[in-house]
């Protein structure tokens, strides 16, 4: 019975982390109709930069914020240099480019920092909280993650539904040509979308790093779990990212707890397959509307 509770709680917590990665993917998808496979690696890279800053004595929260800002810049640079030139070309080209970016960043991080062998510190205590007289598998840090995820999700929701910038972004994503005819500077909007996603990715990296071994590949699994979460919930939907994250987290936790951790990715694969067969648009997406 305790295994069940532990597994469920754990699923909840890792689900929150998957949701953050998923939110970054949703951001880019809503802004540019593209999937950024380098989302995890970009976050990994900025987290390593934060690591360097910390080692030079920079305060934790300052490094945290700086990493997010660098992520913002990184996203913008990637869009301008790598994605913009591919406009109008076949759909697979940006996919291949972002995959190239994924491993190029991993290689670069490896060259610069190597396998550090050290860990990345967490923002808050990672030991379990005490509820009543029992220690629960839910720490201060997990509370922080929860708060961040909700804040991020709300932020993305508000951005797209209630702001003029979000309106421009949606128009630029659904109908770029028409948006241009209406005076929307589509190019700048796309860059901004990637920049925001870069910042979200940096945030994800900072939250994931303390929970796993700190090497250039540490975001790989989180990328695929985040991807699964986003697809399950609906690539269009920030709420979907959260719910998809939860579902994926629970699924992975149960597979890991009862079948062994080496089967976790295949568990994600199974979940992804089921989702794509049953409801390819995701749980929360609105039906695709045609251009009229």
């Amino acid at each position: 019975m305790t295994l069940f509770i532990d597994v469920t709680l754990n699923g909840f917590v890792i689900g929150m982390i998957f949701a953050i990665v998923a939110l970054g993917l949703v951001l880019i998808y809503r802004a540019t109709r593209m999937i950024n496979f380098a989302q995890g690696a970009m976050g990994m890279f900025t987290t390593f930069l934060a690591f360097s800053l910390l080692n030079r004595g920079v305060g934790y929260w300052l490094a945290f914020v700086l990493a997010i800002l660098i992520g913002f810049l990184l996203g913008a640079i990637v869009e301008l240099l790598l994605i913009r030139p591919l406009q109008g070309k076949p759909e697979l080209n940006p996919v291949i480019v972002t995959i190239g970016l994924l491993i190029a960043l991993e290689g670069l991080a490896g060259v610069i920092w190597g396998n550090s062998g050290r860990g990345f510190p967490a923002a808050f205590s990672q030991s379990g909280l005490t509820v009543g007289h029992t220690k629960v598998a839910f720490s201060h840090f997990d509370v922080f993650i929860l708060v961040v995820v909700f804040a991020l999700m709300l932020g993305v929701l508000v951005l797209f539904r209630a702001t003029n910038l979000g309106l421009r972004m949606r128009a630029a994503a659904f109908a770029p040509e028409m948006a241009r005819l209406l005076g929307v500077r589509v190019g700048r909007i796309l860059t901004l979308g990637w920049a925001l996603a870069g910042a979200a990715g940096a945030l994800a990296g900072l939250l994931v790093a303390p929970t796993s071994s700190f090497n250039p590949y540490f975001m790989d699994l989180f990328l695929i779990y985040g991807f699964t979460a986003a697809v399950v919930g609906g690539l269009d939907s920030p709420i979907g990212a959260l719910v998809g994250g939860l579902i994926t987290g629970l699924c992975i936790s149960f597979v890991g707890g009862y079948l062994g951790s080496s089967l976790e990715p295949l568990g994600a694969l199974a979940l992804l397959m089921v989702a794509l067969m049953a409801r390819p648009e995701g749980i929360f997406s609105r039906p695709a509307a045609r251009r009229v």
Partner: protein, 365 residues
């Protein structure tokens, strides 16, 4: 349309063939090529050291893997980031057969190919409903997840130590290393000839038709889903053969040999050579085999740390993918083809080439 960079649709006779007098019939042409390649390799291997022989064999096996992916992506429009995992399937199948049975190694190779092809078909069924990026995501999970099975079932797969195989004995007085290399070379040539024939056949045309426009293809009577599954199976079979060759030539199979970087490296090799180009696979294979060496000596010259060279190689893969996609989407072969047409134009050898270049939007002075 979600097709990858498409190679210019080959004329009935490829451009360069106008220069060289070759039989017009595809099958004959392929056989001539095969014979020439075999001859070339023979010269190569009889003049190289054992270690270089081994590398030539490696180039051959990666050529097989790249050819499989090239057919899948370049000719059929489906991307796969999981071919490293498929190589693992072929490798482990071969190793298991070699360890537990004593059947002829050719049969073992065939079974490895067949099993991997079947798994490819199994993956191909859900895959054929997925658009590019989703397929990439799914195969990415496969690439990360499949090799972990080795961890799970340690008694069968030998865990981290993996399995070892005893290479088949060379007949007669042939040098054992050369023998292994020759198995791989022959395997590669045979595979490429078969693939080339497949691509020229009606099946190959249906591959391309599905790549270019699924709706039009199905209206023309092509069974789209079945075509895509077959393409996946063929491609997986090639990866399985390459993996089996890896097991054959190195004598050992461990999970560590099949990380995500292998799958992405295969993608990079294919993109470099040119998606859809069977000739281009050799460029990619050479880079895949020699890159680790080059980066080791590079990091040695600059006195970088010990583990750095592996990471350097990875950076190069990433850069290849990025730069080729941005600058030369049709890879080296595509670039060479363009150069050749430009040269023919300059020499004013052939009006059709001028027309071809004009239709591609180049201005003619």
């Amino acid at each position: 349309m979600s097709s990858p960079p498409t190679p210019p649709e080959a004329a009935v006779v490829p451009t360069w063939a106008r220069w060289v007098r070759l039989p017009r019939q595809p099958m004959l042409r392929h056989l001539v090529f095969a014979a020439a390649a075999a001859g070339g390799f023979y010269l190569l291997t009889s003049n190289l050291s054992a270690y270089n022989d081994f590398q030539v064999g490696e180039i051959a096996l990666y050529a097989v893997a790249l050819a499989g992916l090239s057919v899948l992506t370049g000719m059929n429009g489906q991307i796969s980031l999981g071919h490293g995992a498929l190589m693992a399937v072929g490798a482990y199948t071969f190793a298991l057969l070699a360890t537990h049975t004593s059947i002829n190694f050719v049969l073992e190779l065939a079974i490895a190919v067949g099993l991997t092809a079947v798994i490819g078909a199994v993956i191909g069924v859900p895959a054929n409903r997925l658009k590019g990026p989703y397929l990439a995501g799914m195969t990415l999970i496969l690439a990360l997840g499949l090799p972990l099975l080795g961890d799970k079932y340690q008694s069968v797969f030998g865990g981290d130590q993996g399995l070892s195989t005893i290479p088949p004995t060379a007949p007669g007085t042939i040098n054992p290393e050369e023998w292994l290399t020759w198995i791989e070379i022959i395997g590669a040539i045979v595979t490429l000839v078969l693939l080339a024939n497949l691509l020229r056949s009606r099946f190959g045309r249906s591959f391309r038709a599905v790549r270019d426009d699924e709706i039009a293809a199905s209206l023309a009577g092509i069974h789209v889903a079945r075509t895509k599954v077959v393409a996946f199976a063929v491609s997986a079979g090639c990866a399985g053969l390459a993996g089996a060759f890896l097991a054959l030539s190195t004598g050992v199979v461990t999970p560590g040999e099949f990380p995500l970087t292998l799958s992405i490296g295969i993608l990079a090799g294919m993109v470099l050579g040119g998606a859809g180009s069977l000739m281009g696979v050799w460029w990619g294979a050479i880079v895949l085999v020699y890159l680790p060496e080059w980066s080791t000596s590079f990091s040695g010259t600059f006195n970088l740390g010990a583990g750095v060279s592996a990471y350097l190689a990875i950076i190069v893969f990433g850069l290849v993918l990025i730069v080729v996609m941005l600058a030369v989407p049709n890879g080296v072969q595509g670039g060479l083809r363009w150069l050749l047409r430009w040269a023919m134009l300059r020499l004013r050898r052939s009006p059709p080439a001028v027309a071809e270049l004009q239709s591609e939007g180049h201005s003619v002075s």
